[in-house]
Symmetry: C2
Subunit: 319 residues, 2 copies
Amino acid sequence: MPLLVVGSIAIDSIESPHGSCPEILGGSATHFSLTAALFTRVKLVGVVGEDFPEDYLRVLRSRDICLDGLQILPGRSFRWSGRYEGSMAQAETLSVELNLFGTFEPTLPEHYRDTPFVFLANGSPHVQRKVLEHVRDEPFVLLDTMNLWIETERRALVELLGRVDALVINDEEIREFTREANLMRAGRAVQAMGPHTVVIKKGEHGALLLHEDEVFAAPAVPLAEVRDPTGAGDTFAGGFMGTLARVGHKRPDLEDLKLAVSVGTVCASFNVEDFGPNRIRHLEPAELLERYERYLRMLQVSGAPLLNASLLPVSEHTV
Amino acid sequence: MPLLVVGSIAIDSIESPHGSCPEILGGSATHFSLTAALFTRVKLVGVVGEDFPEDYLRVLRSRDICLDGLQILPGRSFRWSGRYEGSMAQAETLSVELNLFGTFEPTLPEHYRDTPFVFLANGSPHVQRKVLEHVRDEPFVLLDTMNLWIETERRALVELLGRVDALVINDEEIREFTREANLMRAGRAVQAMGPHTVVIKKGEHGALLLHEDEVFAAPAVPLAEVRDPTGAGDTFAGGFMGTLARVGHKRPDLEDLKLAVSVGTVCASFNVEDFGPNRIRHLEPAELLERYERYLRMLQVSGAPLLNASLLPVSEHTV
């Protein structure tokens, strides 16, 4: 089933211990779309300026991403520059220019309005709510956010949470949002605001899924080299939502969601191997499938019968 | 097969957001033994003073732990006090008194000397080496350590690494030891010093196992309440080594080690539910088995056929 995404389409400049990459294609909707398009048809809503390179639009078109909802306006595109050091767990933002994204009013082409899966990528709650108001037929909606909106638009965010099926958020953000250090309790606190599903991204430590009363923890794919984590969270979301849309259950169950988290985890592991979307834009389905199968084999543990309770040699005395 | 452990047997005083617990049974060898004894016969090497409560010895005996290698000497036992706050990921040490453990010279009863599995729990590399010198028949040896020894006894530690099969260490410690931020690379750097197996403990994020060229990542059991993480690492090691000893392969393969990491992970999840060893000392094999089976079910992901490569709708154009 098709998938709608609204979010930023940006020009990024990135420094990491592995080099620097000025003026590269970036943005939450970009990273998400390039990944989700491996699984299903993606319809993009966003804005760029006249400075946006035609080559970058071609990258999006090369994955058959529908750009009918993309506005190209006079002015400058969203720009972000950041730097990673040490364990590269967090970017240091060097500069942000919202430019046209700061005043963006999304409009949905008619054929976007009944898309059954919707991702509200990181952006202002105002833009996210506008898109929600224009979709029909109760799609499955996944919301993302970041510390900026938690700090400046808390009320709008809480209101949005009452209207979505799921939230994807990173560990530090959900701790800040809920003021709860324990991630399980933080996730439960968000569920109490509305979403039946919460996915907590933990970077190199993988992801934690809460769905109704159930929980699933997925480790990240262990990697010896991380060149640039920019967009890893959106790539994860792209694999997650791409999988759900492909499965096609608008009310996904725990098994659907576990599959989606696992696929998202593997997609994110490719993203960090090169700068920006350079790895994902050239990713072949066969490579993804091969690493996914390796990941499932890694998770597989055998030998449980050895632990048969009756064999445990615990003493009969108790204290 | 039986298991030998040398390490600290302590009196701990612990404060956490869930309360405080003065003068509780503690120590690396204690937490390890109480867990490993659920799986196999444990022979303890250690020292306590005349101040050590007889009740605490009874706790160890209640799990049929062999105390023939325990010295009870005039003087005071090892004492540690610490406090946890916030996410409780790390203890703040309030005081340490090594007391008799600071001058401990381990001696092995004759019937300990050909134990096939040996755990050198956290303690000085001097004590650890002494025990290694007295065992026969090439046991499987697992080494633990901490930042104190990394900083003050680096050379002795590196020498020990050349003589053991495996190292268990936490993430911050291995980063400090290898000066490598990426955990996979840090693990590979330790393997280059000797051990074919490295287990990196990541607290609430689970564990990472490197064995020869293979890797396994295990998430922690998600928990909504952590009362006291003291001894979680040694409890993990107890489940890990207890499992290996029970399987009985002195040269464990990847499947044995994955099983051991998974069991250790589940054991650690019990430890943190109550202060000190209060949860583990009363743990029933059936409870452990039930949670272990639930953990394996959590890790199980189905639905992979949906991702069949030929179905992915990637465009035929490339950029």
